[in-house]
Symmetry: C2
Subunit: 181 residues, 2 copies
DNA sequence: TTTTGTGAAGCGCTTCACAGCT
DNA sequence: AGCTGTGAAGCGCTTCACAAAA
């Protein structure tokens, strides 16, 4: 794939594509474009995505169980190895290929399985409490789907996912398009 | 709120905060900090977020119905006015304060209500087809939750939300932290 | 000839430093 | 005294232009 083709796929200029790839240091031969597989591997290595990480879902409501059923994690290097919910009943009722546990086993399971990342899908009202339990369990990173800003100590990474922010970004694009008539 | 306080809340430097706010042109008096309400209004005006937009959810599976139950859209200027699903049965069973419709009414309802934004929550396999129906219905923007790249004509904005990207961003942060010991 | 890789220039965001306002 | 607003400098990403490689 040539840098011009990558430009049309990604929207980034071919200049930027070429310079960025050159920083990866993978040896791509001039004349032909880039090999997609080799390129992907080089990017993964550069970003430190070249090893698998274990994940869990905390909160098995509609969002949590939607994620539980998503089958695309494994092929991207993320192993979904546990789901947790406060309701023992829900844990027993939900059928899943991923083992489910009641909340009181959270710390034990995270420690035993070596889970590094939690997908936090609990209601906003209990998100901070759940976060603190995760931190006590030595979680390393949290993808936060709760519409609340989490308070975490330095050394813990949080990645917020908030629909309203996406809507705002979209609305801002629409407005700027509208203002050019 | 002073620029120093905003720095500690947002992580952006007070220098950047002050310069960015100065571009907004809202007249904030030196000496005291910024009024939060006035600041918010100035940002909304600058980004074109100072009017309401109507939204709909397409696909009422677990993710779609999770969004349907989220009550935070209205206070941010987004009116969720319709939900659509291919299954007439599901449309009838789900209880919601938002009116639900079977898919074949999509174009009519979007036109009649003046819906501008769709939250696309259908399975990946039918995402492109659904997108084309939305475009025929003159939708302006799509928040895409399906794990697929949508092909859209120029003039339609798409905002992708993909969990794996969030996991990758988190894993990259963890790796770079690990590499400093 | 096509396409990469890279010095050099361009450009914009960030930071510094401080005048000016309250 | 404290904080904002802003020229000026700094810094890094982007783009240009072209030599080197296949």
């Amino acid at each position: 794939m040539t840098s011009a083709e990558l430009e049309s796929v990604t929207g980034c200029s071919s200049h930027t594509i070429r310079r960025d790839i050159s920083y990866l240091g993978g040896d791509f031969s001039s004349g032909a474009g880039y090999g997609v597989a080799a390129l992907r591997k080089a990017i993964e290595t550069a970003l430190g995505l070249d090893r698998r990480r274990k994940c869990c879902i905390v909160g098995l409501g509609r969002l949590g169980s939607a994620l539980l059923n998503f089958s695309g994690f494994a092929e991207e290097g993320f192993d979904l190895v546990a789901g947790f919910d406060a309701s023992v009943n829900r844990v027993e009722i939900l059928s899943s290929t991923v083992p489910l546990y009641p909340n009181y086993k959270l710390s034990e399971v995270i420690g035993r399985l070596g889970i590094e990342i939690a997908l936090l899908c609990v209601p906003a009202a209990v998100a901070q409490t759940a976060t603190e339990k995760l931190i006590n369990a030595r979680i390393k990173g949290i993808v936060n789907f709760a519409p609340t800003a989490l308070v975490v100590p330095a050394g813990i990474s949080v990645q917020d996912v908030y629909v309203v922010d996406e809507l705002r970004a979209l609305a801002a694009k629409l407005s700027s398009a509208e203002s050019l008539q």
